[in-house]
């Protein structure tokens, strides 16, 4: 009587790897950014991609969402090998990925609603009578008030631009959400609220989330796992506390440095209520 449990796709075996990249090499001239890099992303996880400046986070992100062709290596998205995929197949893969670019990349001459409806009109085949309502529902899901639907991007604040861009990234109900520094430029409260929002959406929409971030709050508290880029590879994957406990000097510097100290201490004394080490983290706003 009860319905069978729902799957997002009709694929025969349940695929648990949304991204499966092996042996990725990215080179700019003689400058090698990624050398034989492996990266795997499990369905349903929220993973942060971190690393120092110039370690090729954005390059890797662009590679993983097929905006850049790696010089070598294989990339499987949703179990499909992208190198042998036909153009329409690659297009259909792209439609299953929602991307939030660093600056928002909203189309400046379109209103927020038009921005959100653009991918839907282009690729979706949704009932035209419902389109406006649908677009507004995405805007509301991203945490913007409905009144902002008819505003132009230039009339929005920085935080609202991020949310509007998130609404557009969510437009086609993607399975994978890719966020490039989603909380950069937001105040700490807004950033925490954004993290919560991403978590809520991930839970209820079944999204897998990959985000590049420098936000220590997000890295320590907002994500399931952290993938650390260093030595031209994904050096380590795990929770921030796990990575902080490791020996590699890069990881030590990143997770035990002055700015991470408070989080590191808090993680160590997690069970005890440590007042001094706990940085302010308002999580009730959303």
């Amino acid at each position: 009587m009860t319905a069978p449990s729902l799957k997002k796709t009709d694929l025969p075996p349940p695929i648990d790897l949304v991204i499966d990249a092996e042996g990725i090499i990215n080179q700019f001239g003689s400058n090698c950014v990624h050398d034989n890099l492996d990266f795997k992303l499990e369905r349903g996880k929220i993973v942060a991609l971190v690393g120092g400046s110039g370690t090729g986070k954005t390059v890797l992100l662009h590679t993983l969402i097929m905006l850049r062709q790696a010089n070598a290596g294989s990339l499987k998205l949703f179990g499909v090998d992208t190198s042998s995929a036909s153009t329409p197949l690659r297009q259909s893969l792209r439609e299953r990925i929602g991307v939030l670019f660093q600056g928002g990349a909203l189309f400046t001459s379109l209103t927020v609603l038009e921005n959100v409806l653009l991918p839907i009109k282009e690729h979706g085949h949704f009932d035209p009578h419902w389109l406006n309502d649908l677009g507004i529902s995405k805007i509301l899901l991203a945490g913007l008030p409905a009144e902002s639907a008819h505003k132009l991007p230039m009339e929005l604040s920085g935080g609202m631009v991020k949310r509007a861009a998130l609404a557009r990234a969510l437009a086609l109900d993607p399975e994978l959400l890719v966020l490039d520094e989603p909380t950069s430029g937001l105040d700490p409260i807004g950033a925490a609220a954004f993290d919560d929002l991403v978590r809520t959406l991930s839970d209820s929409l079944g999204l897998t989330v990959l985000q590049v971030t420098h936000d220590l709050d997000s890295i320590w508290r907002g994500v399931d796992e952290v993938a650390f880029l260093g030595r031209k590879k994904v050096l380590a994957v795990g929770t921030a506390a796990e990575l902080a406990a490791r020996e590699e000097p890069e990881l030590q510097a990143y997770f035990r440095g002055a700015r991470s100290q408070a989080f590191w201490l808090a993680a160590q004394q997690e069970k005890h209520h440590s007042h001094a080490a706990s940085p302010s983290f308002p999580s009730e706003t959303s």
């Binding site: 009587m1 009860t2 319905a3 069978p4 449990s5 729902l6 799957k7 997002k8 796709t9 009709d10 694929l11 025969p12 075996p13 499987k76 949703f78 179990g79 499909v80 090998d81 042998s84 036909s86 329409p88 197949l89 259909s92 400046t108 001459s109 209103t111 609603l113 839907i120 979706g124 085949h125 949704f126 009932d127 009578h129 419902w130 406006n132 309502d133 649908l134 507004i136 529902s137 995405k138 509301l140 899901l141 409905a146 009144e147 639907a149 008819h150 132009l152 991007p153 230039m154 969510l170 086609l172 109900d173 809520t200 839970d203 209820s204 929409l205 079944g206």
Partner: protein, 387 residues
């Protein structure tokens, strides 16, 4: 598994809704709504119609059940709207038999949905738009005047303290606006000179007054065509580039950065441009005059039997030096107007990349418009003065 595209792009099953027979008749009136098929943004081409099963005087409890093969946030919107309608009609909606993740999605949407969709800001009426345009033009004129005032107010002290002028920037602007425009100004002037000689010559030939081609081409070129043509080309070429440059700099906050560093944008950006055009445009006009006369000479020689030597011998008799000066006198005014409009439109850009394009168009249209208006005013002025 990664081979055939068909297995990867899921074939979508049509979303369907169906009322089931009531299974709990007697206890309470229930209506079971069964959803089946794919409920996604890609499959909901037409949202199915659902009649609310309200019979006279009854208020059934609606139980949702799912045999759906896919369900996403967009489909959840449709369902959330239905549930709202039913609840608004006083019906109970029972989600206990609905899968939990989907119920969570419905709840999330329901928390956030608003009942009234804001409508876009309605377009104003024709009369209101007319008024808007008039007011805009008035403001445009005022801001041009205040910009002109600023140029005088801040430019003259700068002229006196000439060592503070950024000569390097001025020279670069002269090269871009003048030297690089020589080709196109020369070619176009030459061709306009030819056209004038042809058109005038054809009529003069009827009276055997071929030699008057020299007067015709000389006067029109020196007084009007040379300066006007140079100004219009500069307005299209250089004025627009000023607007685009300053507009982009505004969007990237470079102008604010200059201010913050303590370098007045007027000194480094606007004044060199105005100065450069004041120097360049008269020189370009002279070049344009020269090429126009040459174009006339070629046609006069080959088309109407006025040889080169006759043409250039007669030229000083036909046109006085005053004619040349009357033409050149206008060009610094053109230069100021073109540079100011270009800079003003650029500095007024706000917000988006599309604005830069719009401002550039406005700048070129305004500059050419103003050049022709000023040219006409000069003609009237010269006439009154008796030249």
């Amino acid at each position: 598994m990664t081979t055939a595209a068909e297995t990867i792009i899921p074939s979508t099953a049509t979303p369907q809704v169906r009322w089931l027979h009531d299974e709990h008749m007697g206890v309470q009136q229930n209506a079971v709504l069964l959803l089946s098929g794919d409920w996604t943004i890609r499959s909901l081409h037409h949202v199915p119609k659902v009649d609310t099963p309200v019979k006279e005087g009854t208020k059934p409890r609606i139980i949702l059940r799912s045999e759906m093969t896919a369900f996403d946030g967009s489909a959840a919107l449709v369902l959330a709207r239905w549930i709202r309608q039913w609840r608004a009609a006083g019906l109970m909606v029972d989600l206990s038999q609905f899968p939990s993740r989907e119920t969570g999605l419905l709840t999330l949407l329901d928390e956030r949905l608003v009942d009234s969709i804001p409508s876009p800001i309605h377009k104003p009426s024709l009369l209101a738009r007319l008024g808007e345009v008039a007011v805009d033009q008035w403001h445009e004129a005022k801001s041009f005047l205040s910009f002109l005032g600023e140029l005088v107010w801040r430019g003259f002290p700068l002229l006196l303290a000439f060592w503070r002028i950024r000569w390097r920037a001025v020279l670069a602007e002269i090269e871009a606006a003048g030297v690089r425009a020589l080709g196109i100004v020369g070619l176009l002037s030459f061709m306009i000179g030819m056209v004038m000689a042809y058109q005038g010559g054809a009529t003069l030939q009827n009276y055997g007054a071929n030699v008057l081609i020299v007067d015709l081409v000389g006067i029109i070129t020196l007084r009007e065509m040379g300066p006007l043509l140079a100004a219009i080309i500069v307005a299209g070429r250089t004025g627009s580039s000023y607007t685009a440059q300053l507009g982009t700099m505004r969007i990237t906050e470079e102008i604010d950065a200059l201010r913050a560093i303590g370098v007045p944008p007027f000194e480094i950006l606007i004044f060199p441009k105005v100065l450069a055009l004041i120097i360049t445009l008269p020189l370009l006009s002279i070049f344009s005059d020269l090429m126009g006369l040459l174009g006339g000479a070629v046609v006069a020689n080959y088309g109407f039997g006025v040889s080169f030597s006759v043409y250039f011998d007669r030229m000083p008799e036909a046109v006085s030096l005053t004619t040349l000066w009357l033409g050149l006198l206008k060009t610094p005014v053109f230069a100021i107007v073109i540079a100011l409009i270009g800079c003003m439109q650029g500095l007024r850009v706000r917000g988006s990349a599309a604005e830069v394009g719009h401002a550039t168009t406005v700048s070129v249209v305004q500059a050419i418009f103003m050049v022709i208006v000023i040219d006409a005013l000069f003609s009237v002025l010269y006439n009154v003065m008796g030249y």
